[in-house]
């Protein structure tokens, strides 16, 4: 078991390295082809006060006068040492910004991820077991509707109702505005996380619920459920003893494999609620042409999605007895 785990991890790490290398090359090439002048976006509003010579100096400082390959090698070399460069808009090291913001985003996403996972799974099970009933129709139409709803619009509606009309929750930001860092309580953090978190999970429920419903319907129509029924199993015991584990595994796998959509949703939810996470940083970096930060965030989100997929794979290969024991038997 441990040996297999080591092999699994080793393979995944090699794959991750290749993946990050490919993504870096593609991203770097894209940025290099861009008509946008990074010097211009660095200078920003100070454009009147910066002369041609200073521009050249800045370009040289960033290494922009060198050919593409040299720039890439230099950047990749620094990257391997953990130095992702300096953000142009925040004037801080990219690593530090990402680390800080990651904590905020991770909390937000973990909250939304687990909430949508639990609710989505339960909803899918109820819908499948009561197939064709009004509750099934309600759940599926909710899911289909939510699947075609823009996440940011859900955020806007929630903000309108709970923050503006009812005034129960703060309108945005990660902490109360104008408060000293020391005086912010955990309750403040949580309060500010609820609305973006709920926005994210409301949208995230749909895929897991629909998938679980579909899987459970397939399972309930399978030969082995037929046989379990023929042996007198029915109702809750039929579900818990004979069907639950067959749908739990795909659900967990799907939930881990959905990290990409989760991150995309977080970008939108954070933007709506001005929540200081990775998503908002990505938008800022894109809008204001902060190349080092954008590169760092692309790699960071790739790593994030990869982790999710690797975990999904892990659950699939390590937990499913068919795959687990067959592989052991082959050895």
């Amino acid at each position: 078991m441990l040996q297999r785990l080591a092999v699994f991890t080793g393979k995944k790490i090699i794959r991750l390295f290749l993946l990050l290398a490919t993504v870096s090359i593609i991203t770097f090439a894209l940025v290099a082809m861009s008509p946008i002048d990074p010097v211009q976006s660095y200078i920003g509003a100070d454009v009147m006060r910066v002369g041609t010579e200073q521009r050249a100096e800045i370009a040289a400082y960033w290494g922009l006068d060198k050919p593409f390959a040299e720039r890439f090698i230099k950047w990749a070399g620094a990257m391997l040492q953990g130095d992702m460069g300096t953000s142009m808009i925040y004037r801080e090291s990219v690593t530090k910004i990402i680390a800080e913001r990651f904590i905020h985003s991770a909390l937000l996403m973990a909250f939304a991820w687990s909430l949508s996972g639990v609710i989505g799974f339960a909803a899918g099970v109820v819908a499948a077991l009561k197939r064709g009933s009004w509750i099934d129709r309600a759940i599926t139409s909710y899911c289909y509707t939510l699947a075609s709803t823009p996440a940011f619009w859900v955020g806007l509606l929630l903000m309108m109702v709970f923050a503006v009309w009812l005034g129960w929750l703060p309108i945005g930001l990660g902490v109360p505005a104008g408060m000293l860092a020391g005086t912010v309580t955990a309750a403040d953090y949580i309060k500010h996380m609820i609305l973006p978190g709920v926005t994210l999970s409301v949208v995230g429920i749909a895929p897991i619920a629909l998938h679980t419903r579909q899987k459970l319907i397939e399972v309930m129509d399978s030969d082995y459920i037929l046989f379990a029924r023929a042996r007198g199993e029915s109702g809750a015991s039929l579900f818990f003893r004979h069907a639950l584990r067959n749908i739990a595994l795909p659900a967990i796998t799907l939930q881990f494999a959905s990290f990409g959509e989760l991150f995309g949703g977080a970008v939108l939810a954070e933007q709506v609620f001005s929540y200081p996470g990775l998503g908002q940083a990505t938008v800022e970096a894109g809008l204001r042409g902060d190349v080092p930060l954008l590169m760092g965030l692309v790699l960071c989100s790739t790593l994030f999605v990869f982790t999710g997929n690797a975990l999904a794979d892990f659950f699939y290969q390590m937990v499913d007895p068919r795959l687990r024991l067959q592989k052991e038997a082959q050895r």
Binding site: Y224, A230, R231, G232, S237, H242, N246, L249, L325, Q326
Partner: protein
């Protein structure tokens, strides 16, 4: 009074025909069958003749687009949904076709226990594993790890509890080693000797006549003949229906004479005897009207020529 009595059972499926129109396609028509306690009745026929559907219809586990009519009586009472619910898995047991009827993710031993089991059945199942010469380790295996013979024994063992009164075995012998076939048949024979009624659904006529008391021959969704197993002997002259005779004579040891033509599909709405196209004794009357069941020499047959 028979333990199980099936009368005028018809099964139909809803299917698309053209565009968005749907049509009912009859796959089994006016099937009659009865089975007593301690008796083994085999239902034989080529694949596609609707044998498995009969098993699923009795158990009430047909797919969603199936509709059935007719009556199924168990112990003299109409076998309705409520009655089935209490009888399934206790008095009526199904032995399914293959290992795909076991949940791939649950260990065999754990899977076989049901919520209708008490401690008594629990220990009984253990005893059954010994009786079927299945090692104790088998209970800890997952279904995909079972060999073909092991899987069969496991499936048969699900039905062999003492509370069972009616066993419906759906193709319990294909792909089995001849010794295992003999073993499995012996098990059914013994179960019948203990008072069970066994409905054995199979395409293996030899296996069927080795243990069955009566053999029902199924053709294109209806039972064309029910004969005592002893009638399947010699050149098959004791048999009443031309199809039964042809089926018997097609066996390697009985002449190996193939039957020309193919079994018609039930959906076509054919008139007359379904076997008429392939029957060498068919006359015009056969093609006009469907034959009713007649009692002849302690058997039942649907053929005007039968004597």
């Amino acid at each position: 009074m028979p333990l199980l009595e099936v009368q005028q059972l018809s099964i139909a499926f809803q299917q698309y025909t053209k565009g968005s129109r749907q049509q009912m396609v009859t796959v089994m028509e006016e099937l009659d069958l009865a089975i007593n306690e301690g008796e083994i009745v085999a239902v034989v026929g080529a694949s596609g003749s609707g044998k498995s559907l009969l098993a699923h219809a009795i158990m009430g586990i047909l797919p969603a687009n199936a509709y059935i009519s007719g009556s199924i009586r168990y112990n003299g009472e109409q076998l309705d949904e409520a009655k089935l619910k209490s009888l399934r898995g206790s008095e009526i047991a199904l032995v399914p076709q293959s290992v795909s009827y076991l949940n791939p993710l649950i260990r065999v031993g754990k899977q076989l226990q049901t919520n209708k089991d008490s401690i008594e059945q629990h220990s009984e199942r253990k005893g059954l594993f010994e009786r079927f010469r299945l090692g104790e380790h088998v209970a800890r295996l997952f279904p995909f790890q079972l060999s073909g013979g092991m899987a069969r024994k496991v499936l048969v063992s699900t039905a062999a509890l003492s509370r069972t009164r009616l066993i419906i075995a759906d193709e319990p012998t294909p792909g089995m080693h001849p010794d295992d076939v003999a073993e499995a048949l012996k098990q059914f024979k013994q179960l019948a000797a203990e008072g069970c009624a066994v409905l054995l659904i199979t395409h293996d006529i030899e296996a069927a006549i080795r243990i069955a008391d009566k053999v029902a021959v199924c053709y294109a969704g209806s039972i064309i003949e029910i004969a005592p197993a002893s009638d399947f002997s010699g050149a098959g002259n004791e048999l009443r229906h031309p199809y039964s005779q042809a089926l018997w004579r097609a066996l390697p040891q009985n002449g190996f004479i193939p039957i020309s033509g193919t079994q018609p599909s039930m959906g076509l709405g054919l008139q007359g005897c379904l076997f008429a196209d392939r029957c060498n004794r068919a006359v015009d009357a056969c093609k006009v009207s469907r034959q009713e069941s007649r009692q002849i020499r302690s058997g039942i047959v649907r053929c005007m020529h039968a004597t």
